[in-house]
């Protein structure tokens, strides 16, 4: 029977040739993408992974108190009794090592996050254990500070012995794990993060809403005017877009200050008393106004590009069939712009919840976002990298969820920037 498989000119079956050619093309495409891929992996993805690592990393306790951690493995934290003498001996030796190497302060700080007072306990013990040379360690340690005689102290140490901990994530969601292993709410005075996330989301929502209200009319005007005029007016949208964020925030400070331009204008027009000037800065109002201004171009541009694709004949058809202009607009035009509104909203929302600079400068105490708190935990007085990392990961998760929504509505490939 004759061979019926198709072949190329050099006798190789067509299928094989095609597959080889396709493989070559794929490899070439991958080869082109590879440099950026590896570059981003090292400079961008690894940092995010490092953050994830730090949000659960707790190796500090087992690194600095190795002997104690090992001995405490045997001890039952639920029993009312103190750990055995061996634990006290281990602790004394660990503290002595830690004091020599100056690491004892660090582990005290870590434990202090869970049980306030541990920091000073370790500091005090660090200085005084130098003189303890031999048994009985238990009495000697308790003599330095009563806290060593409380099972609670040892329970906390045991609880924080594992190298991985969920405590930062729990704290970031206003929860805590008691020594018994139950997960409960933090005490009222410390419950702030859920509220902060909520406040960030609400303010971002308000900002998004305002950009829709302000951006829709402008986008419609730009989309329907003749090209020459609309290009000219477009400059009024693009110039803020291209102006530095700090320049825009600075102008808003100048405008909104208590003794600033707007207040001066209002007093001049008699709308406001000189003694009773409007407080428009260092609060939520300032953040919302400034950020609406900054993010408005991000709403106008996607809306404009969608509106430009709607043929004007739709509206004319609707009117020719008897609809009045308002009805035609609502029933025919607006539904076609929904994808633009959706794309713009999600873009603005995602940008808004991650903002740091503007809330830091005009937000005061009540108008700051979660990102400002993350920054405080990195380089502020209450330094707590684990908590900062956990808050950051939660924020990232929120944004990824929204981003997937954006992909569903618009598609990543279709992102246009005007």
């Amino acid at each position: 029977m004759a061979d019926t498989t198709m072949t190329t000119a050099d006798g190789i079956p067509l299928k094989v040739s095609l597959r080889k050619a396709l493989m070559r093309q794929k490899l070439r495409a991958l080869f082109l993408v590879a440099p950026l891929f590896f570059f981003l992996f090292i400079t961008f993805v690894l940092p995010i992974l490092d953050m994830l690592f730090r949000s659960v990393d707790n190796s500090i306790v087992s690194d600095i108190l190795p002997r104690t951690v090992m001995v405490l493995e045997e001890w039952d934290p639920d029993s009312a009794a103190l750990p055995p003498e061996a634990a006290f001996e281990a602790m004394v030796k660990d503290i002595q090592d830690g004091y020599e190497e100056k690491t004892i302060g660090r582990v005290g700080r870590r434990l202090n996050f869970e049980n306030p007072g541990m920091s000073s306990l370790f500091r005090k013990s660090g200085r005084r254990t130098k003189s303890i040379e031999e048994a009985p360690y238990k009495d000697a340690l308790i003599a330095i500070d009563d806290k060593w005689g409380e099972p609670e102290t040892w329970r906390v140490i045991k609880k924080l012995s594992p190298t991985i901990t969920a405590s930062y994530f729990l704290q970031a969601m206003d929860l805590q794990e008691t020594v018994d292993g139950d997960i409960t709410w933090q005490p009222d005075d410390y419950r702030v993060y859920l509220n902060l996330f909520w406040r960030t989301l609400v303010m971002s929502g308000i900002i998004t809403g305002l950009t829709i209200i302000l951006g829709y009319p402008v986008a419609y005007l730009l989309a329907t005017l003749p090209l020459r005029t609309s290009n000219l007016l477009m400059i009024l949208v693009l110039l803020p877009f291209w102006t530095s964020l700090l320049v825009r925030t600075t102008s808003w400070i100048a405008l909104l200050q208590t003794q600033g331009i707007l207040n001066d204008l209002f007093v001049f027009l008699g709308l406001v008393d000189d003694d009773n000037r409007l407080q428009m800065i260092h609060n939520q109002f300032g953040t919302i106004v400034a950020m609406t201004h900054i993010l408005l171009p991000f709403m106008i541009l996607p809306l404009y590009s969608v509106m430009k694709t709607i043929p004007p004949s739709y509206m004319r058809a609707a009117r020719s069939m008897g609809a009045n202009p308002a009805l035609a607009f609502v029933r025919v035009y607006m539904p076609n712009t929904v994808s633009g509104v959706g794309a713009g909203s999600i873009l603005v929302f995602i940008l808004a919840i991650g903002y740091y600079i503007t809330p830091a400068l005009v937000g005061g105490r009540t108008g700051t976002f979660i990102s400002n708190y993350i920054a405080t935990y990195i380089s502020g007085a209450a330094q707590n990298w684990g908590l900062a990392a956990a808050l950051g990961i939660i924020l990232l998760a929120l944004v990824l969820v929204l981003y997937l929504l954006y992909d569903k509505i618009v598609g990543i490939d279709n992102m246009k920037l005007g």
């Binding site: 190497e101 996050f113 200085r127 419950r191 702030v192 003794q259 708190y373 209450a382």
Partner: protein
């Protein structure tokens, strides 16, 4: 400790030998910015650079986040700072955590002109706060209040006036820091005698009481983080009263002629000085600079530019007039009897122990 000193000294000698032939030696000195850094620049850096043309001093104004950033640098092993200006309680923490170098004062610091060794010339106890040996005191400063003379009908005279919104309406500005007076002032304004403040603050009820008092003005407070902010807020008219480092208020009043006056009631005295980061790359250069910048005349010179008191006994008689304005500095010093009728010494050892936990409570309180 000796092994640490010895190894560091050896490393320093090796690195000094390696870099000894470098043309320009950069020293990164971290301080608080604004008028304070300007005074250090004029009194310490410029004279030193003139005497040592090969040295270039770079000012980094992030001392407000100094402890946190220092921790990050030492832990990562990449220390770029050479000298850090810190308050006493931060110095205690830095020393305990192994972030600051320990030293022998008589080895590193210059004696007084009359021969008194450094360990006896600095104010008693200031070289060893909380039992540590890492701190080189520079100044005694105080945190106190300034107010707009033209925006208030009644002039505030006591700390309770800060919390009185009826008689003294308007916004206040307080430091976004739990450990520099806010707690103490709240308790004193609530009636606690000044000598019992830390006793009360050591109890949970005392802490609650302080926060409750602060709650009464919470919505009227603009919080500042950097020393230059409160005089700026006062000058802009954003607030009518603000707590600030006294020297910054002096600069605003005397040098810039702002309509601001001081309210010294229960000013909080504190110490400010230098620590040397562990692992600094320029130890020999820093030591040389330190010996110069902390000697008797230099500390007195700084007082010519800003109203902070030098921390050496031998410097006090040398304090004279303002270098540019010619006014007598003594009446503007926080330690002047007219200003120090009522005052509170910040218990920096207590704060070194309790700062972390109260900070958590304070941050949570701010966010609510």
């Amino acid at each position: 400790m000796k092994t640490v000193l010895r190894t560091t000294a050896m490393a320093a000698v090796v690195s000094a030998a390696a870099f000894g032939t470098a043309q320009a030696q950069d020293l990164t000195i971290v301080s608080w910015g604004g008028a304070y850094t300007a005074s250090q620049q004029k009194a310490y850096h410029e004279p030193y650079m003139k005497m040592n043309p090969g040295v270039n001093i770079i000012n980094d104004d992030s001392a407000a986040e100094g402890l946190a950033k220092l921790r990050a640098q030492v832990e990562s092993g990449n220390v770029t700072w050479d000298l850090v200006d810190v308050v006493a309680s931060s110095a205690i923490t830095a020393c305990d955590e192994g972030l600051a170098m320990e030293f022998d004062p008589n080895e590193w610091l210059a004696p007084a002109p009359d021969g008194t060794p450094a360990s006896e010339d600095f104010f008693k106890g200031t070289l060893t706060p909380g039992g540590t040996n890492c701190f080189i005191p520079q100044i005694v400063y105080s945190t106190t209040f300034g107010y707009r003379t033209d925006m208030l009908e009644n002039k505030p005279t006591s700390i309770a006036d800060v919390f009185d919104l009826k008689k003294f309406p308007g916004k206040r500005s307080l430091e976004k820091n739990v450990a520099n007076g806010n707690m103490e002032w709240a308790l004193i304004a609530d009636g606690v005698p000044a000598d019992q403040v830390y006793e009360v603050l050591s109890t949970p009820e005392g802490v609650d009481r302080a926060f409750a008092k602060l709650d009464t003005i919470k919505d009227h407070v603009v919080w500042w983080t950097k020393g230059a902010q409160p005089p700026q807020l006062l000058a802009d008219g954003e607030v009518v009263m603000a707590s600030a480092y006294n020297g910054r208020l002096f600069s605003a009043i005397a040098e810039k002629n702002q309509p601001i006056a001081m309210m010294w009631d229960y000013q909080v005295f504190d110490l400010d000085g230098w620590v040397v980061p562990v692992g600094t790359k320029n130890l020999e250069a820093v030591k040389k600079y330190l010996r110069f910048a902390t000697d008797t005349q230099r500390l007195a010179d700084q007082a010519k530019y800003i109203s902070y008191g030098p921390a050496r006994y031998s410097s006090a008689p040398l304090v004279g007039k303002h270098a540019d304005l010619g006014i007598d500095m003594k009446p503007h010093m926080p330690t002047d009897p007219n200003n120090a009728k009522t005052s509170l010494n910040l218990d920096y050892v207590w704060w070194a122990d309790h700062r972390e936990e109260l900070n958590e409570r304070f941050n949570a309180w701010l966010a609510q």
